[in-house]
Amino acid sequence: MHVPDGFFNAAVSLSAGVVAAAGVAVCLRGARRELDDRTAPMAGLVAAFVFAVQMLNFPVAAGTSGHLLGGALAAILVGPYTAVLCVAVVLLVQGFFFADGGLTALGVNITLMGVVAVLVGWGVFRLITRSLRGRGAVVAASFVAALVSVPATALAFTLLFWLGGTAPVEIGTVAAAMGGVHLLIGIGEGLITAVTVSTVLAIRPDLVYGARELAAPLVLRGAGGDVTVTSESPAPTAPVAARRPGWFLPAGIAVAALLAGVVSFYASSSPDGLERVAEDKGFSGQAADHSLGEQPLADYGDVGGIPVGVAGLIGVGVTLAVGGGLFFTVRRRDEGSGRGEDSGRKVSV
C-alpha cells in the first residue's frame, strides 16, 4: 500500500510529513537507547531484512496473495523505536531508488506503515504480554499484534482519506473495503509474524525479548586439569540496553481508539450525513468547463462535500496534535531522566 503522488491533497501530505518527521525524530533518540552506537549497522541490517521479507508473497485466499508489512514483526524483534526507523528507511529507499511510493506521499507512507503499524502492533503486544507470561504468550501476542496492526493501518489510511483524499468515494465503502481486505491480509501477517518470532525464540531467544537466563560464574582450567572458580561473572549482554518504551502502550491504544472511534463514527453515519452536507453545500466550488457533463463539479480536493480548506485544517489539527503529543510525552520523560539533549532533527523531504 505504497501511496503514490496525487492520492492525497497537499495539506494532508504535508501534515503527515510533519507527523512522520516528529515520529522519526523521537525514534532516533529512542533507538540510540535501544542500540547505542550499534544503531546504524543494526538498524540498517534489520531494514534490509524488512525489505526482503516484504518481498515474501504469501497466499491469502483463492487466487490472491498478500505481502508482509513487517511493522509489528520488526517492533517485536528489535523494539518499537528501531522498528519505526527501519520501516521509515525501507520506505525512503523504496521511494528514492525504486520510485515506489510518491516523494510527496513519503510522509503519509511513513506515518501509516511506520508509525501507526508499529505503535498499534507494539501496543497490542505489550498489552497481552503484560498480563500473560511465557514463550507461548509471546507467540500468541505476536499473532494478535500483527493481525490488528494491518487493519489498523488500513483504517488510518481511511481516516487520512476522509481528511484529504482526492477521490470521491463513500468513506464507509472505503473503510469497509480496506478494513475487510486487510483483516484477511492481517491473518497472514499475524501467522507469519508469530511463526517468525517463535523460530527466533527457539534459536536465539536473546534477540527477541528480555528473556536472558542467569549466567554461571567463570571457571579457570589449568594445564594440569586443576579448576578454579572465579568470582567474576560473564560480561553483560552488550546488545539490548534498557528499554523504556512505556509510553508506547498508552500511545498505541490512543491511536487505535482514535482510529476506531473516528472512522467507525463516520462510516456509520456517512450514507446520509456526508451526502446531506454535500447537497447543502450545493457543490459550490468554481464550476470548471469540461467535456464530461454539464453538472458543476466539486472543487478539487473536495471530498464527500467537505471543502478542502476544512478538511485540510482538520487534517493538520489532528496530525499535529498526535505528533505534538508524542513529542511532549517523550521530551518530558527525557528531561525527567536528565537526558535532555537536542531533540533531534526533522526529516526534510
Binding site: G6, F7, N9, A31, D37, R38, T39, P41, M42, A43, G44, V46, A47, A48, F49, F51, A52, V53, M55, F58, P59, V60, A61, H67, L68, V78, C86, A88, V89, V93, F96, F98, A99, D100, G102, L103, T104, T166, A167, P168, V169, T173, G188, L191, I192, V195, T196, V197, S198, T199, I203, L207, A278, A288, G293, Q295, L297, A298, Y300, V349
Partner: protein, 254 residues
C-alpha cells in the same frame, strides 16, 4: 507491492543531469512533485507541459523512453485502484459505453493517474541519473538526519547480500520439493523468515564489530564532501522553476 524491487534503477552516464550534485537533483524532484500535486486537476494542458518538462530532462540525461516505461510498473497497483474509482465513486453519474460511471470518480481517477505518473517518472529520472549512495549523501546535505542516512547506507550495502541469502533458502526449500500454494504453507515461509532475521541480525553484529575494530566511536567519518555551486543549483532549479511558472501562468489564465 514489494515485487520488482530487485531491478536497480541507476544508469551510469556522464550528462549534465548525471553531473549535478545529488542534493540539487533531490530538491528539484521534490519541488517538482509538490508543484504537480498542488495543480488543480482541471488544468489539462498544465499536466501536458509538466510531461514535456520531464521529457526534456530525460532527453538531456539520455534516458530512453523504453527504460522509463519499463520502470513505471511500480505504479500498476494504483492504476488498478484508480480505474476502480469511477465505478465505486458517489455523486453524479454518466453512462459511457453502457457503463455507469461516477463523474467525480472519473475526475479523481484522472487526478491520481496524472499526478502519480508524473511523480513516478520524476523519481525514476532521479534514480536513473544518480548513484544510490550519492542520493543519500545529498539527502544528508538537505538536513536528513545523518543517522537515518547511515541506516539507509547499511541497508543498501547489505540488501543484495540478504536477498541472496533469501534466494538460497528458497532454492533449498524447493530442491526438497516445497512449493508455497496455500495458507497451510505460510509457516514454512515464516520459519525461513525467522532464520533470515537471525542471519541478518548476526551479520549486523559482526559488521558492528568490524567497525569497532577500525576505531568506530559512534559517528561515521566524513570522507567525501559534496558541495554544490550556485550555478548548479540554478540548473537544477530549472525543472521545478519551469513547473511553477506553468502553475502560476495557468492561475493567471484561469
Amino acid at each position: 507491492m514489494g515485487a520488482g524491487h530487485h531491478h536497480r534503477l541507476h544508469r551510469p552516464g556522464d550528462t549534465l543531469v548525471h553531473r549535478l550534485p545529488p542534493q540539487c537533483k533531490l530538491a528539484a524532484v521534490a519541488g517538482f512533485a509538490l508543484v504537480v500535486v498542488a495543480t488543480p486537476r482541471e488544468w489539462f494542458w498544465a499536466f501536458g507541459l509538466y510531461a514535456v518538462l520531464l521529457a526534456a530532462v530525460a532527453v538531456a540525461a539520455r534516458v530512453p523512453a523504453g527504460f522509463l516505461l519499463r520502470r513505471m510498473v511500480v505504479e500498476v497497483p494504483f492504476v488498478v485502484f484508480a480505474l476502480a474509482i469511477p465505478f465505486i465513486g458517489i455523486g453524479e453519474r454518466v453512462t459511457f459505453m453502457g457503463l455507469s460511471l461516477s463523474v467525480a470518480g472519473l475526475w479523481a481517477a484522472w487526478n491520481i493517474l496524472a499526478k502519480a505518473t508524473l511523480g513516478v517518472v520524476a523519481s525514476v529520472l532521479l534514480a536513473a541519473t544518480t548513484e544510490p549512495r550519492l542520493i543519500l549523501l545529498g539527502a544528508q546535505r538537505l538536513r536528513l538526519p545523518p543517522m537515518l542516512v547511515q541506516i539507509a547506507m547499511f541497508m543498501l550495502r547489505y540488501l543484495d547480500v540478504i536477498l541472496e541469502e533469501m534466494r538460497r533458502m528458497r532454492v533449498a526449500r524447493e530442491s526438497r520439493g516445497f512449493v508455497a500454494r496455500d495458507v497451510r504453507h505460510i509457516p514454512v515461509i515464516a520459519r525461513s523468515a525467522g532464520a533470515l532475521f537471525i542471519r541478518s541480525y548476526e551479520r549486523g553484529e559482526r559488521v558492528h564489530l568490524a567497525m569497532l575494530s577500525r576505531g568506530y566511536t559512534g559517528s561515521m567519518p566524513v570522507i567525501q564532501d559534496l558541495s554544490a555551486a550556485s550555478r548548479q543549483w540554478l540548473v537544477a532549479g530549472m525543472l521545478p522553476g519551469a513547473a511553477l511558472a506553468v502553475l502560476l501562468g495557468s492561475w493567471g489564465v484561469a
